[in-house]
Symmetry: C2
Subunit: 338 residues, 2 copies
């Protein structure tokens, strides 16, 4: 399947294709210098398959995890590209999950003010969500995605075969974003989780998620309006995630999104959401005190002055953007009994 995503800088294709990595050189123009940004967990066979499609392949390998998504990594990769005399006609390829995609995309956006960027997501999370939409960034002073850009890729390849070695907990966490998309935008997608085994329908889940996401980002590339719906569950999720990373066994992003969505639904919607989260093995009870979370939220990007915009789901497949004083939201969150 091929989805075309329109942006202010033109259109780009998203190929959803099992085994697509072996056809990488046919899908994209890579007969040039390519900086492949990847992490140590990505199987060598995948990296070598990608390299085989490149005119002149270079590698920038990070240690896996958010802690690598820094300005220091950004700078180190730019330095490597400079040393290899990358020009504006060369490109950057992300081969990995959301961390790799965010970092690689920001590097591509900034080197010589922008070179071509291709994204080959290898996790469920990045395949259903983060690889499409053009948001790229690094973390800064412990805060997620503080420094970055809106920089659409030149092309995305979603190859489901690259998920083969992904641990089940990773898969479940990734599916949380697809649940988010279904819950807020597409009831037929949400039903794929309610009925039978979602893992057996993964290709359809990914397609429906990306179609929903593409429609939203096309309507609002730079997150001025309705793109906010993609943040459904994320205001609290980011707070849970920040808190969780202070401990020894941090929750995954998707697990935090699961926990972040629950309070933003009505009781009725929640009654459909909880069984889905349980079926996927995602958490449904937050291990942190909401009072602590709320105090960590001063830097949330969705805050504007003293008010905050949150997404509420009152009916599966539909959403409402609710802007309210931050203090009022804080009271609501502190008083939550789930």
């Amino acid at each position: 399947m091929r989805i075309n995503v329109k942006t202010g800088m033109g259109e780009y294709p998203v190929f959803i294709e099992r085994g697509g990595l072996s056809r990488l050189g046919e899908l994209f123009s890579l007969d040039r210098k390519c900086m492949i940004v990847t992490d140590e967990n990505i199987p060598q066979s995948l990296v070598e398959a990608a390299e085989g499609a490149c005119g002149e392949a270079h590698r920038f390998v990070i240690t896996p995890g958010e802690h690598s998504k820094t300005l220091a990594s950004f700078e180190a990769c730019l330095e490597k590209m400079l040393a290899a005399s990358f020009t504006r006609g060369d490109c950057v390829i992300a081969l990995g999950g959301g961390v790799v995609g965010d970092l690689a995309g920001f590097i591509a956006s900034a080197y010589l003010r922008g070179v071509d960027f291709y994204n080959i997501p290898t996790t469920v999370l990045s395949q259903v969500d983060s690889s499409v939409g053009g948001k790229v960034a690094v973390n800064f002073r412990g805060l997620k995605n503080m420094v970055g850009a809106f920089y659409p890729p030149r092309g995305v390849l979603v190859d489901l075969d690259t998920l083969a070695t992904l641990p089940p907990r990773h898969v479940a966490a990734g599916l949380a974003e697809a649940v988010k998309m279904g819950l807020s935008l597409d009831e037929s997608l949400f039903r794929l989780f309610e009925e039978g085994d979602p893992h057996a329908k993964l290709e359809t889940v990914i397609e429906k998620s990306l179609l929903a996401k593409a429609a939203v980002v096309e309507a609002d590339e730079r997150e001025g309006g309705i793109r906010k719906v993609l943040n459904f569950g994320h205001t609290l999720a980011h707070a849970v995630e920040s808190e969780s990373h202070k401990g020894d066994s941090p929750l995954y992003h998707g697990e935090c999104v699961a926990l972040g969505m629950i309070p933003m639904c009505t009781q009725e919607v929640r009654a459909r959401l909880i069984p889905v989260l349980e079926k996927l093995g995602l958490p449904t009870a937050c291990p942190f005190d909401y009072g602590t979370l709320i105090s960590a939220m001063g830097h949330d990007k969705k805050m504007k002055g003293d008010s905050i915009s949150v997404i509420r789901v009152e009916k599966v497949g539909e959403y409402r953007i609710d802007t309210l004083p931050f203090t009022q939201f804080a009271e609501e969150v502190k008083g939550l009994k789930l």
Copy 2:
């Protein structure tokens, strides 16, 4: 005068107005947190005038010069904005020359993936050229503008009164970019330099330069094609500049542009250009060996693979983009007798 510049992200106004700084708050929406990026040479009275228009003014002051246009400055300013809890609804204002504008624009482009950016250029160079067009960047490992973005401002204010304290050598260097624009794009602009005293016609010079520039960047925002004309003289200029900065009394950017244009003109055009440069007090004889310069050019952004695109002027007001093998261009430059 007001010029509207169209971009992929919308349109922005450029106000050319003597004394406009005193009306800053009427021209732009600044009733919010504003980070004013400026340098130590900018008169306090100007900084205070700008601050007076801001809802909540913050200052980031750099030491003047290219050496401040670094990722370290970028990071320090982001840190300051984070500490002051800047949100997406806040903004960054550049008050200074090209260095300040390039740095401030890149900061604005990256903080939370982009906040509003206003540019108040206070040098001739930035007023006639760099404040319009959306190219922002920092230097990296000694190479100019290696890391940056295309990020249009939300508005530009060109207030000629801010030039009052600018040393004559600065003024002349700035006018070199206007000469460039006239020579390659608009003969009527070039004539302003040939006839009488250009300094007496500064407002017209700035207007004509910005109109010429706006037309080019509207046609080619991301420098894929004809925007290359704005690099007329710059391939050699950047090489002259890099070399010059190794010594004790570096040439100004505009002086390097003057030297960079000369070899790219025909004899006939050169015969009109040299008297103009002399009238402005700009250099006409290059202090460096062209062989040394050419070896510094491996990283030039206008190189693509083994060929190079250069701009040639064979008739005043018109240009030609010439793409030739780098080795051939190197031979031409090495053999130059001016």
